[in-house]
């Protein structure tokens, strides 16, 4: 089954969706959508670094994203500049630095489009291993810290006053996002990663009565979007990464319609 590139693509996408769903819920609850986007932009620098140092590209991306996440986390401690300004600076500097650094590696012929918009059909066995191992690690951490994470998403001061280590939790969440982005790069690409985080979670919101339901449903809807997007891409010969995102958007729109019917009934 793993010999078929389509199956590999689906398994890769599904693995990502199952992690991105629950994490995306936190991104929404904590208003971190812009943070995720900025993190993703800096990923290109990771790609270049990976090439230069001759290490696994996803490792390079994970490292750069993690460093970026820590940097933002620390800079947010000062209060002179609002976070969205900081993120704006870091996001686009990260992308620009990545592109400039890339041009120095003259010998390199890089499929830039592949990194920006993903190339899920080129996913190999090795990538699959990365996705599922990384995903399992992230999901385990989310499950372990579920309640403290929830409370600190609801109200940081409340959590801190009750003895929860809020800052380490925030850094943990940022690092998990970094890993997820490294994993997602191959699938939907740097520019579309945020959509895999927030679209399924946003669609799940309409039907969820508890945070657990929302996280679970977001994962399931994400897998649905991957399946739908891939088959559409096959049928209509459209680029796979964007097709998956469009499928997720359709699910979101349907959730709005379905949600309002449900609430009227």
């Amino acid at each position: 089954m793993l010999d078929d590139f389509l199956w590999r693509a689906f398994l890769a996408g599904a693995g990502l969706a199952l992690v991105a769903g629950p994490l995306g819920c936190f991104v929404i609850w904590r208003r971190m959508a812009y943070f995720g986007d900025s993190l993703a932009h800096s990923a290109l620098l990771g790609v270049t670094l990976g090439f230069l140092l001759n290490i696994d590209l996803q490792l390079g991306v994970a490292a750069v994203c993690a460093a970026f996440a820590l940097l933002v986390g620390l800079l947010q401690q000062q209060q002179r500049l609002p976070s969205d300004t900081l993120l704006g600076i870091l996001a686009h500097s990260g992308l620009a630095l990545g592109l400039v650094a890339l041009s120095f590696v003259a010998s390199l012929r890089l499929d830039l489009m592949g990194y920006l918009f993903g190339d899920i059909l080129a996913v190999g066995r090795n990538d699959l291993l990365w996705i599922w191992l990384g995903g399992a690690a992230v999901l385990t951490l989310v499950a372990l810290f579920w309640r403290p994470l929830l409370l600190s998403s609801l109200h940081e001061d409340l959590a801190r006053a009750e003895g929860i280590a809020v800052l380490p939790l925030r850094l943990l969440l940022m690092l998990m996002l970094a890993v997820t982005i490294a994993v997602a790069m191959k699938i939907v690409g740097i520019l579309l990663i945020t959509s895999m985080l927030i679209l399924p979670a946003a669609a799940a919101r309409r039907f969820a009565r508890s945070p657990e339901q929302m996280a679970l449903l977001a994962g399931v809807l994400g897998v649905g979007a991957v399946g739908l997007g891939l088959s559409a891409s096959l049928t209509y010969d459209t680029p796979s990464g964007p097709s998956i995102v469009v499928a997720a958007l359709l699910l979101f729109i349907l959730s709005l319609l379905g949600g309002s019917l449900l609430h009227r009934a």
């Binding site: 609850w29 609801l154 001061d157 801190r160 009750e162 919101r205 009565r209 508890s210 929302m214």
Partner: protein
């Protein structure tokens, strides 16, 4: 008696402005201490320092060994993006079990809201849920930042009576912050009047006659205290009909179920 929480010579400055100037404060077991003061008097900052959310520039905060604190923040804005029932909210970050949760909600008169979504609650309902949440783990010290905010008048009376009852039953200390004077005064052992420094402190009656208090809040504040010291022997239901106090709880429950 060892105080639950004690702060010595707290000083806090921000951007060249002195916000807290040499504050000493102690809260004993079974004592209700109310912090009053006008806007910008440093109430919230003092509270944050006492809770360990902020570091003072100098001075120290000493907690009794093993002290547990229940904190009810001022204004909790709940994002509608987070689906969470009031009952589940009480189980964060620790699980207590449904039964205990319902009992705590019953105590603050909002048992019927256990399955309501947190973001859909009105201001007053949310305050009651928050209070239930703070009581649930039976902490040694309750820290309540303007707990009566958004609660209607009779609800406020209920609230302060409840705080008083809990304090007597469990022997916990209570630190209240408020800038609404009259109601709080009635349910307080000691009032600390703050205006960047401790203007005056003592029993409510004494504080309300203190010249610095009068200078801060005006002579009408002292009259206000007298007005609110009488007890209500009846209340009003939703249609405005007078109802004896003891029937009111039943009514609330019935209304909640319909």
């Amino acid at each position: 008696m060892t105080p639950l929480l004690e702060a010595r010579s707290l000083v806090f400055t921000r951007n060249g402005r002195t916000i807290l100037d040499d504050i000493d404060i102690a809260i004993n077991p079974e004592e209700v201490v109310t912090l009053i003061g006008p806007n910008g008097s440093g109430k919230t900052t003092l509270l944050r320092i006492l809770l360990g959310l902020q570091k003072p520039d100098s001075g120290e905060v000493v907690q009794r060994r093993g002290l547990t604190i229940g904190y009810m923040p001022q204004r909790l804005t709940i994002s509608p993006a987070l689906p969470l029932t009031a009952g589940d909210f009480l189980q964060l970050p620790r699980r207590f079990g449904r039964e205990k949760v319902l009992a705590a909600l019953q105590e603050t008169g909002v048992r019927h809201l256990a399955d309501a979504q947190l973001f859909s609650l009105s201001g007053g309902e949310l305050q009651r849920v928050l209070l239930a949440r703070v009581l649930l783990p039976e902490p040694d010290l309750l820290v309540l930042d303007e707990p009566a905010q958004g609660i209607d008048f009779n609800g406020q009376l209920d609230l302060y009576q409840l705080i008083d009852r809990v304090r007597r039953k469990r022997g916990c200390g209570v630190l209240l912050v408020s800038h609404d004077l009259h109601l709080v005064m009635a349910a307080t052992d000691r009032v600390i009047c703050l205006n960047r420094h401790v203007c005056c402190s003592g029993e409510p009656e004494a504080v309300s006659r203190h010249p610095e208090y009068l200078a801060l809040f005006g002579p009408r504040a002292a009259e206000a205290l007298a007005i609110y010291q009488h007890r209500h022997d009846h209340s009003h239901d939703i249609t405005g009909e007078a109802v004896p106090i003891d029937q009111r709880e039943e009514q609330a429950v019935r209304r909640g179920c319909s």
